[in-house]
Amino acid sequence: MDMRTPLGKVRGLGSAKEGTDHFWRQRLTAVSNIPLLIFFVFFVARYAGASHAELLAALANPFVAVILGLVVASALIHMRIGMQVIIEDYVHAEGVKIALLMLNTFFAIAIGGLFLFAILKIAFAG
């Protein structure tokens, strides 16, 4: 027997009121991560160990700077919701779980802040 109301069925959001948003976002960023990270891997493979001047010149290229910004956004969203699932799967004490979920978001935003500061500083100020 289906206990859901017709309105609930139409909305399709489930008990968490988010529907398939988390699932979809993980797939969306998974797909965008593929080309972005392939670019990123080749960029790092090319410039790992490069001189400071050489790396700055490469990062000053607007195409490189924009792509790296997109890499950061896509990868950090993907890893944040991925880690959220890991925490929810293994941490059952409510207080610890909430604290870790908050730390997870803080970590992703902090790393994103560092990345974007570095990319923008080099792109605009050298």
Partner: protein, 130 residues
């Protein structure tokens, strides 16, 4: 009533089952995802060093260039490739394909073989670009 919750019987867990390729690769997908998460610190460090000036960048560059640094970066490359191929496998499943038992096992083995191959290719290309 917490004692009741704690003394409930548990379902059989990991130690009960024989590890099979699909299971091992599923676990590896989660572990590599977690490793990539913390590995972002290394990448952020590299870019922040580049933004902080030549002296600090040269030091970080030297550190990443040591044998231990290279091993960590080699491992990080493999972890990224493994998670990416594992993710492609998940996208195949999301599209409704690849559930047949023997094919799924083949895909699991291909994920490992592919990630090792891609890692070596990337490092060879990286060496040639220098």
């Amino acid at each position: 009533m917490t004692d009741v919750t704690r003394s409930r019987p548990l379902s059989p867990h990991l130690q009960i089952y024989k590890p099979i390729p699909t299971m091992v690769m599923s676990i590896m997908h989660r572990i590599t995802g977690g490793a990539l998460y913390f590995g972002t610190i290394l990448v952020a460090w590299w870019l922040i060093a580049a933004a902080s000036g030549a002296a600090y960048y040269d030091w970080v560059n030297w550190l990443f260039g040591t044998l231990i640094g290279k091993l960590v970066l080699f491992g990080y490359t493999w972890v990224l490739m493994h998670h990416m191929l594992g993710g492609l496998r998940h996208l195949v499943w999301d599209l409704g394909y690849g559930y047949e038992k023997h094919f799924a096992t083949k895909m699991a083995k291909a994920t490992l073989a592919g990630s090792v191959t891609l890692t070596l290719v990337i490092w060879i290309i990286g060496a040639l670009l220098r």
